[in-house]
Amino acid sequence: MSDTGKRLQKHLLLIIMLIIIYLAIVLAFLLTYGLTKNLGVIPCVFLSFAAGFAVVVLGARGFWRLAETLSERKAVAP
């Protein structure tokens, strides 16, 4: 594969990771909403947003970790 192709592949991997994390955020929000909707509107909304944000924080770390891994591979390759 050409250099341009490899670069594009790595960037697309990052974007795919971002999309997976986005779906996980929505899923966490909806699941928490479903589980807590009997608690009343405000606790339910608060908990759902908290769950979504927790996935954002974990996801952002994962995203950066993937970037570092892909970058290391580049450094190791001849």
Binding site: L14, L18, Y22, A60, W64, A67, E68
Partner: protein, 323 residues
């Protein structure tokens, strides 16, 4: 007919921005309002605070919309919020406000829109449907949304065309939903903003002649938040802001989140125009880290990420409800 009207507002703000911008750039340069374009092999000076010209063009468009009777009460509130956010950004460009003061002023900027919803408020979500928050929490949520969106767009910035491109992609998605739902105030405002942003991109795209400054970036966030609230498209707007949220979270994970540029310096650039990230985590740095990237390519990749998330959000709204 109403669709044609929406396109007319978009064209008007496009033409106003397009023809006012060269004059604005000359004026800003003559006043010494310039900044160095640091991501180029040869450093050049560009006009700063180009957001002021967009603010002027949008204010004229909004005024005409109001005088012609095309804006309802929440629409007027949204316009006032957008203009106020631009003015706060202008103050920041002139006097470099402290972060605390900027947050307080942006809360005031969100007030006109929030007060227009002083009744009851609900947000529409896929699968969940309408989620009733109650008047007080909805007003609070609007003020927070304007503040958060403005500061997030202000943080994910610094590359030619990124800030305006990010807001233009968001306005594009928000306009599509507003038009299909028949939320005309939201459609008029988001399309007028889209027109102004596209005209601005003509001058701000790589290699830039003008930067938006805080008057632009804070206003762009307020445009996204206001259009979303007005059209009931909160889910879509939050989804579109995900790259900016990631950028914020990554920067906050550092021990000294507001001193990173002082400690690590700016992104470096070689003679070929390839960017190297400084040593702290950020959304844009991840793309630079994995493979050699030029400024133009980086901006395109970030906009592509935003657009793909927008498409996914639209699909979810279509399949799971909430359109």
């Amino acid at each position: 007919m109403t669709f044609m009207l929406a396109l007319t507002w978009a064209s008007l703000s496009f033409l106003l921005t397009y023809f006012l911008m060269p004059l604005g750039i000359k004026l800003l340069k003559s006043r010494g309002w310039t900044g160095v374009d640091v991501h180029k092999p040869v450093k050049v000076e560009c006009a700063e605070s180009g957001g002021l010209i967009i603010l002027l063009a949008l204010s004229l468009s909004f005024l005409l919309m109001f005088l012609a009777g095309f804006l309802d009460r929440p629409g007027v509130g949204a316009c006032l919020t957008i203009v106020s956010a631009g003015l706060v950004g202008f103050l920041d460009d002139m006097f470099t406000l402290r972060q605390r003061n900027k947050v307080l002023l942006m809360m005031l900027a969100g007030l006109p829109l929030a007060l227009c919803y002083a009744g009851a408020g609900s947000i529409r979500l896929p699968l969940v449907g309408s989620m009733e928050l109650g008047a007080f929490y909805y007003m609070l949520a609007i003020i927070m949304a304007v503040n958060v969106a403005s500061n997030l767009t202000n943080m994910l910035a610094g590359f030619n065309g990124l800030e305006a491109g990010f807001a233009a992609v968001a306005c594009c998605f928000l306009s599509i939903v507003s038009l299909t739902r028949g939320e005309w105030s939201a459609a008029f405002i988001s399309l007028a903003s889209l027109g102004a942003l596209l005209a601005f991109l003509r001058y701000n795209w790589y290699p830039a002649k003008v930067f938006p400054g805080d008057s632009g970036t804070l206003m762009f966030g307020a445009i996204i938040a206001s259009a979303a609230v007005l059209g009931g498209e909160e889910f879509l707007a939050v989804s579109l802001m995900i790259p900016a949220v990631f950028d914020f979270v990554l920067k906050m994970q550092h021990g000294k989140p507001f001193a990173q540029r002082r400690i690590y310096g700016d992104t470096r650039v070689n003679e070929a125009g390839v960017l190297s990230p400084p040593g702290y985590a950020a959304f844009s740095h991840a793309f630079m880290k994995v493979a050699p990237t030029s400024e133009r390519r980086l901006v395109l990749l970030i906009l592509l990420s935003e657009a793909l998330i927008g498409v996914l959000a639209l699909i979810m709204m279509l399949l799971l409800g909430g359109w």
